[in-house]
């Protein structure tokens, strides 16, 4: 253990030091080889120009290399693999895609993913909005928001342990230690194995993500609500609008852009949802989603990279519209410099 801590400390120092070393060293070298205070003016000007042309790439270099290696190269490689057989040797055209769309499990994943997409972003945004409005008028509102926000810091695995305990099942007549079955028992109904009820179990998994993500929606929307000019709200009150009318007619339209942002951010997250299904049910009882199906094809039972890659491309295509929207927004924002 002590050896491990020392080893860990040394690796940390080396890793971080190496990174610092690169930036200092490369810039020092540039200044040394092409000094700005060269002996004659002509070479000083030339050196300055070389410096100005080179330095951005010294700054950007590591980022570009890492991005290419860890994101761009895998995207291209996956695309290529999706047209090849299980080992990635033989070109098979669209066979993997044809397989996917005729496969029952794939259809089930698509169905489940659509279910998640329909429920989670809407529920998170709605709950977030309601909580943001309610807590805005409370003196202990910030504390309340912190508590709602807290699950965001918890890992999916940790959340899964927490919720497995909530959903815990004991046979009928036994003392229930899972709170959901205890509540159900209190109302005189029989206990259920919640995560193994086909179809409905999807909703019990979604509850976990809603629990985690509502805090995110709350915080963003609360900040947007703060931005609504006080006088518009006052004017509406004076005109006799009730709280619900103020909410629908004044607040929601003014923060519509932010609502959309929250919605799309959670949508992207839901499209990539993986950990919750892995740790809660491991895709059993008809709960599989695209990312888990892909993981299973890639890493389980010998693996079929072609089919796994085809599923990855399907996820990618589903995310694409949001990606284009994101790029547009970024370009719009970029204006200034």
């Amino acid at each position: 253990m002590t050896a491990q801590i020392i080893y860990a400390f040394i690796t940390v120092v080396l890793g971080v030091g190496g990174c610092f070393g690169y930036f200092y060293g490369s810039n020092w070298l540039l200044d040394r080889i092409f000094p700005a205070n060269a002996s004659n003016d002509a070479s000083a000007v030339r050196n300055l120009r070389i410096q100005a042309n080179t330095r951005p790439w010294l700054f950007l270099g590591p980022a570009l290399i890492l991005l290419s290696l860890y994101l761009i190269f895998p995207v291209i490689q996956t695309f290529w693999l999706s047209f090849h057989d299980r080992a990635g040797n033989k070109f098979v055209g669209f066979a993997n895609y044809a397989w996917a769309f005729s496969d029952d499990e794939f259809r089930l994943s698509i169905f489940n993913n659509i279910l998640w997409l329909a429920v989670v972003p809407a529920l998170c945004t709605l709950m977030g909005l309601v909580i943001a409005v309610l807590t805005d008028r409370l003196w202990w509102g910030n504390l309340a928001k912190s508590l709602i926000f807290m699950p965001l810091a918890i890992s999916f695995v940790g959340a899964s342990v927490i919720w497995k305990f909530v959903y815990d099942y004991r046979g009928e007549g036994q003392e229930q230690i899972g709170i959901l079955n205890a509540v159900v028992g209190y109302f005189g109904l029989s206990p259920q194995v919640w995560i193994a009820l086909p179809f409905w179990n999807n909703f019990f998994l979604m509850a976990i993500l809603v629990w985690i993500q509502t805090g995110f929606a709350t915080v963003i929307l609360a900040a947007a609500l703060r931005g609504i000019p006080e006088d518009t709200l006052e004017a509406a009150t004076i005109d006799g609008a009730g709280p619900f009318k103020i909410f629908y007619r004044i607040m929601v339209p003014q923060i519509y852009g932010t609502i959309l942002v929250v919605w799309t951010t959670i949508t992207v997250l839901v499209l990539k949802i993986f950990d919750i299904v892995l740790t809660m049910t491991n895709s059993q009882w008809d709960t599989t989603v695209l990312a888990n199906l892909m993981f299973d094809w890639m890493f389980r039972g010998g693996g079929d990279f072609g089919r796994g890659a085809a599923i990855a491309i399907v996820i990618m295509v589903a995310v694409l519209p949001i990606m284009i929207w994101n790029i547009r927004q970024a370009n719009k924002e970029q204006g200034g410099h």
């Binding site: 700054f59 909580i131 940790g158 305990f165 709170i179 963003i220 900040a223 995310v319 994101n326």
Partner: protein
Amino acid sequence: MLKSFSLEPSRIALNLAVLFIITLWTLPTAGLLISSLRDKNDIAASGWWTALASADRNQVGRMKGKADQVEKDGKFVISGNLFEGQDAVSGKVSAFGSKVQAPEANAAGSTVDLEGGQTLNVNVDGSYVLTSPTAFDNERGSRVFFISSQPPRFTTENYETVLFSEGIGRSFVNSLTVTIPATIIPILIAAFAAYALAWMKLPFRGLIIAIIVGLLVVPLQMSLIPLLKLYNAAGTFMGVPSKTYLGIWLAHTGFGLPFAIYLLRSYIAGLPKDLIESAQIDGANDFKIFRRIVLPLTFPALASFAIFQFLWVWNDLLVAIVFLGSGPDQLVLTGKLNALLGSRGGNWEILTASAFVTIIVPLTVFFSLQRYFVRGLLAGSVKGG
């Protein structure tokens, strides 16, 4: 006006509604924390919400044998305490009986008639008096079945178990080894890149920014196979193991960069133009401007990203499964917890304590640095998205 105190019904309703939501939201985590501090038998026997109340427990006590009898007023008497020198856990007796099927037969304090003219009296504190008209001849005393109520008990035993014998302590160190560099390295790399993209003249700047924003939504699972193949090839080529800490640092750096660059670039681009230009006129080169002016001013954004990346890496399971081995020297907390979920599925005392150890660090970071975290969220989505 809005924040005044008043006792209108609508305000009470509002407070109650928020209180209800908060309770609903914190209940699952509270259950985990309370359970992790309970005795393992208690966890399995009753719901965690009963932990603060006294718990009823069915117990068995054995009375003393013939050696301890005394003769008194023509009767033979054995007296003692059910909680003494027994396996029974001390508490308050509420009922007792002589048959295993019916420990609730008689209320504590009452005297019952047994076979052969014997009488038995058991009190709340566990003391009993057994009388008989004839001498006792049994070597060991007969058993008494009783229900006792236990005051709430809390223990740190579960934590000792998971930290020192279940390998959670070791995994904790591994998690730190992964997380610290995987947080610092992307900050450095992204800050330099963000500055270049915000203030330096370079070709294809718009295109590079667009690509980085696009990469924000690439599903991470997609990169695993190609990267794993690459790592294996590189490992074989250089004759080193393919699963190393360096490998996972770089992987987390690569995956975290799009968001880091995106967040920092919008912040750095928003710095006052005069500041940078006057420094340029003074003859400072970009490296100097970056170090002396930009970096200190960007601190809040750096802190926000650092918190994000820290939480992200600490909480990650997938990347750790794929890029690190499953031996004790490399298994991180999330991986360990996932393994425990498989192997210790029903042992809630192990699972709850382990889960709490894994979430305590992110929760501490979160509550102490919440301000920066929220600021980062706002910058990341409201401004940009």
